[in-house]
């Protein structure tokens, strides 16, 4: 479904991506892990066409993202939903306006239909009667949920999550993780998540890819990445995940990978 | 203010803006708003008219009565065409002068009214003009002259301010006294002759007075002119007078020093006056005859004048054909218009301009384009008739089949321009309407507001149709424009922008010459 082939990207002297190859299959939940500043966000922005690579190409459903005209790019983007790190809700619009934004812009639906759909999406992320609030009145976790509701409003085929649990307390992080699992399964979407939170990665990943020094250094199921790695950098990074996974195996309440 | 919608706030703001714009426009234009230089105009030639340009004021007794329409060079003279406002008339013996508002102010043409009962004809020439005095030249000359005088008086007072000079003066006075005695003797000897002369002169003055009475007004005018001239001179040149004073005292001193010379000249004068006396005596009879002749001719003149007076009186009362023609305003105007029409006919399309235009715009909210086809008939520069056909794009909003014939809109309106404002009225887009054009920036910019469809277009739009357009003419025949239509009706409200042409014969010629 999504192919990244030999991607290179540099900002001045900072060579962020140095030949990234990645294949994301339809319907799977891919989690890209890596330390801060390793270019995870840059990679995800290439997938949705916010950045264009210096070399290499990104293909989505057979279309090369870099070759698309503006209108084609917009059509492609309608297949995506994206949840930003800080939710990136529009300050000037109400919660309802945020969630219904794409519906209003890209469909001919009547306002009442849009309102209905907004309500449905908000309920899906566990929120009710918040349509009239402004984003400034929401807590961080609530913003993320509204962001998710906005991302799923247009029934996307692919949802991108940019650090979904960063900045949240562990309880709220858990709630968001559950929500991601729930919605992606309910909607049968492909999801790409970038995170450095191994707890989160462990919970939601079908496959995990690790980005290190501008390259994918490890890819596979969570078990493969956590237990069968020789690369010391990878081993160190996934250590906490390994511990969680072992504990869960003991307690028998492993939910993530089935 | 807190509960106001943004639309309302913006509305208040924009309306206030336009109100101020109109106030400023009218304030600037106020002096020109009624400067509809009417039908009357005449021509004045000046030797030079530095500072007078097109649109300069023309004033009489300080009151603005018109403006300069054109300034051209003809035979090395400035030919100035003056357009008069309204009903003003200028006597044909008036004098045109160039005046300035203060030393540095704007120049204008001042007409000093004459006293002739007849007026300068429309398109005629006003014969009398006085070129403006060049202030710089004047000041330079004056100061040079003053310098000279000063030098002379200085040297004079140095040379003659002595005791000797004073003595001289004394002897002059005694000489003068002797002289007057002599004169007395002369006069006494010729008493009879003198009496005769005086009688003659008396008669002559009587005749002269008769003549003068007839021309009293003229004289009064010239005298008052003289008077004002001398007054202004008195005001302007106290310095000069002072210097003259000094000069006089210098001369006095000089005179006292040349006593003997003076004495000689005095005796010469004595001789001369004696001779004069002789001449008078010898030619007494001749003088008499001459005086008599003068008298008869003046009498004849008097008769002629009287009959002229009778005729003009008749004309004034409206007797006779000419009298009627001149007196009856209607007849006069009718004649004038007929003549004008005839002139136009003979000139064929010279005055009447027929322009053809088309424009197309894109309407943002309707999301479709609308085009117009126009014919403009312009019988006069400040007046035109507009015939226009356009498409009613509002009909295309519905789902029914499009019917082009049904959806055509027709306009036929008349427009008249006053200065920078054009008022329009008539049929606008198939309904009665009125409109206002505001012209600016050398007619490159035009703001239009039209109101029509007063009872609304349909049930969705019950308010009158308000259309506001701003046109920009980079060329005379080409324009770009933006605006809003149906501003008062939310349902059909739309904004538009487009391009158009409106060209008459001349423009086409220009266009062809330019591109082919």
């Amino acid at each position: 479904m999504i192919f990244c082939e030999n991607l290179y990207k540099a900002f001045g002297d900072n060579h962020v991506l140095q030949g990234v190859d990645l294949h994301i299959k339809r319907g799977e939940s891919m989690v890209i892990i890596g330390g801060s500043g390793t270019g995870k966000s840059v990679l995800i922005k290439h997938i949705i066409g916010l950045l264009s690579p210096d070399a290499g190409r990104v293909t989505v459903d057979g279309q090369v993202v870099g070759d698309l005209h503006e209108d084609e790019l917009n059509e492609m983007r309608k297949k995506f939903g994206m949840l930003f790190q800080g939710a990136a809700l529009f300050d000037s619009l109400t919660v309802g306006g945020n969630v219904g934004f794409a519906l209003k812009e890209h469909t001919d639906l009547a306002q009442s239909k849009i309102d209905e759909r907004v309500k449905e999406c908000l309920e899906m992320v566990g929120m009710k009667d918040v349509e009239r609030l402004m984003p400034a009145e929401l807590s961080g976790g609530m913003k993320k949920r509204v962001g998710l509701a906005r991302a799923i409003a247009m029934n996307p085929q692919i949802i991108l999550f940019d650090e979904p649990t960063t900045g949240l307390d562990p309880v709220m992080a858990d709630v968001i993780n559950d929500l991601i699992i729930k919605t992606t399964r309910a909607l049968k979407v492909t999801s790409v998540t970038i995170t450095h939170d191994m707890v989160s990665a462990n919970r939601i990943a079908d496959r995990i890819a690790m980005l290190y020094q501008g390259k994918i250094v490890a890819i596979g199921t969570p078990d493969e990445v956590m237990f069968n790695q020789t690369n010391p950098a990878v081993r160190e990074f996934v250590e906490i995940g390994r511990i969680i996974r072992q504990t869960e195996a003991v307690q028998g309440r492993h939910i993530g990978a089935q | 203010m807190k509960n106001w919608t943004n639309e309302a706030k913006l509305g208040v703001f924009i309306i206030a803006g336009f109100a101020v714009l109109f106030w400023l426009t009218f304030s600037i234009g106020g002096k020109k708003l009624f400067s509809v230089t009417g039908k009357k105009s005449f021509i004045v030639y000046f030797k030079t008219i530095t500072g007078v340009t097109e649109k300069s004021d023309v004033r009489m007794a300080g009151v603005k009565i018109g403006e300069v329409k054109k300034v051209e060079l003809e035979n090395y003279r400035a030919k100035v065409t003056v357009g008069l406002h309204g009903d003003y008339d200028v006597p044909d013996d008036s004098v045109a002068t160039v005046q300035g508002k203060g030393l540095l102010g704007e120049k204008f043409i001042e007409i000093r009214p004459g006293f002739s009962p007849t007026y300068v004809s429309n398109g005629g020439v006003l014969a009398n003009s006085i070129p403006p005095s060049n202030i710089d030249d004047m000041v330079a000359k004056l100061s040079a002259a003053l310098d000279d005088i000063k030098t002379v008086t200085n040297s004079l007072s140095e040379s003659f301010g002595s005791e000797e000079g004073k003595q001289g003066l004394k002897s002059i006075i005694s000489n003068l006294s002797n002289l007057s005695k002599d004169l007395n003797d002369v006069v006494g000897g010729n008493k009879e002759k003198l009496t005769q002369i005086i009688t003659n002169v008396d008669k002559a003055t009587a005749v002269l007075q008769l003549i003068l009475t007839e021309n009293r007004e003229n004289l009064r005018g010239s005298i008052s002119n003289l008077n004002s001239m001398s007054k202004s001179f008195a005001e302007k040149a106290p310095d000069l007078l002072e210097h003259l004073d000094q000069a006089a005292s210098g001369i006095r001193d000089m005179v006292s020093d040349n006593r003997t010379n003076l004495k000689d000249s005095m005796s010469n004068i004595k001789e001369a006056s004696g001779n004069f006396n002789g001449v008078l005596v010898e030619n007494r009879e001749n003088f008499k005859v001459a005086m008599a002749n003068l008298k008869t001719s003046s009498e004849k003149l008097d008769e002629i004048m009287a009959s002229v007076k009778k005729i003009t009186a008749k004309i004034e009362k409206g007797e006779g054909t000419i009298g009627k023609l001149v007196q009856e305003e209607e007849v006069y105007n009718g004649l004038n218009e007929t003549l004008e029409g005839a002139k136009n006919l003979t000139k064929q399309t010279g005055a009447m301009k027929v322009g053809i235009g088309a424009r197309a715009e894109y309407q943002s909210e309707m999301q479709q384009s609308k085009s117009y086809f126009s014919i403009r008939v312009k019988p006069r520069e400040d007046k035109y008739y507009m015939i226009e056909v356009s498409e009613d794009v509002r009909r295309n909003l519905g789902t029914g089949p499009r019917n082009t014939l049904n959806s055509l809109l027709y306009s036929f309106y008349i427009a008249k321009r006053f200065g920078n404002v054009t008022i329009k009225g008539g049929l606008m887009e198939s309904s009665g309407g009125v409109g206002l054009d505001l012209h600016g920036w050398e007619d490159k910019l035009m703001l239009t507001a039209d109101v029509f469809n007063f009872s609304g277009y349909d049930n969705n739009a019950k308010s009158p149709q308000v259309k506001v357009t701003a046109k920009y003419f980079p060329q005379k025949y080409l324009f770009l424009y933006v605006g809003g239509d149906e501003l008062a009706n939310k349902y059909y409200r739309t904004f538009f922008g487009g391009i158009g042409i409106m060209a008459d014969e001349e423009d086409f010629k220009f266009f062809m010459a330019r591109f082919f």
């Binding site: 949705i48 503006e70 934004f101 794409a102 812009e105 | 924009i14 400023l24 050398e442 910019l445 904004f495």
Partner: protein, 270 residues
């Protein structure tokens, strides 16, 4: 050592030039993009109305204050000068012409730059650093169209309206001072104000203010749109936006006046 310094200097100059050319290119591209979206349907009139209120109506109090006191001080100053050669009656003319031709448009533009231009930068800058602009892209909505075009429309249309009001208020301020304080004849003052004024004086000012409005909104949006570096970056961008706006306004003012509206002496008759 010397060689090092020389090379370093050259490198600095080179890099600076490259950066500047890049910035100009980026700005050109930005303006081009804006013009492209400006001509595309449908224009978001709702957003434009909001911005018009922000740029126009809400800026009015500041513009009012500025123009009023400028007109007043102009009357005072020119009176002082003119009194020395007995031309007090020309105060109205000077105030009127200065306001309509120059001070009205320029002062309004400066005030609006400080008030609305910087606000545009702050808003767009915040949206950039909180990824709201990226979010717009991912929702298949072009931020130039959604954010920049309404602001540019508002700036370009509202500045002339504000300027007309500034002209009016300035003339009024001068009138108040001249009549109440300096004892001028009110009728004569107004007459003198408009006696030498041509339509061109006012319209040239209004045309200038349109260009200023375009500059203010484009610069404000540009600086905000390319903000980098979090909250601190927003602050820097706002400062840059005001400085750049001021400089471009003065530059454009001179160029426009020199090219379009100065005819040596006399002045074009309307």
């Amino acid at each position: 050592m010397l060689k090092k310094i020389a090379v370093g200097t050259l490198e600095f100059v080179g890099r600076y030039t490259i950066d500047m050319v890049k910035a100009i290119g980026l700005m050109g591209e930005f303006v081009g993009d804006t013009m492209k979206w400006l001509s595309r349907k449908p224009l978001r009139m709702g957003a434009a109305v909001d911005q018009m209120v922000e740029v126009g109506a809400n800026s009015f109090p500041v513009v009012f204050f500025t123009a009023m006191f400028t007109g007043m001080v102009l009357a005072l100053q020119s009176h002082t000068g003119f009194k020395r050669f007995g031309a007090e009656s020309m105060v109205g003319t000077v105030v009127g012409l200065s306001m309509t031709r120059e001070l009205g448009p320029v002062l309004t533009a400066l005030v609006v730059t400080g008030r609305a231009g910087s606000a545009m930068t702050a808003q767009l800058g915040t949206m950039r650093v909180t990824e709201q602009i990226d979010a717009l892209y991912t929702l298949a909505a072009n931020p130039i169209k959604y954010l920049v075009v309404p602001r540019v429309i508002a700036g370009t249309l509202m500045l002339p309206v504000l300027t007309v009001m500034a002209d009016f208020v300035g003339i009024l301020g001068g009138f108040v001072v001249a009549v109440m304080l300096l004892g001028a004849n009110p009728v004569l003052y107004m007459e003198k104000t408009f006696e030498f004024m041509e339509y061109n004086d006012m319209f040239s000012g209004l045309l200038k203010s349109m260009v200023f409005g375009f500059i203010i909104s484009v610069v404000g949006c540009y600086q905000g749109f390319y903000t980098e570096g979090g909250a601190e970056g927003v602050g820097t961008a706002t400062t840059k936006s005001v400085v750049m706006g001021f400089m471009l306004i003065f530059l454009a003012n001179y160029i426009l006046t020199a090219l379009l509206f100065s005819n040596g002496g006399g002045g074009a008759k309307f």
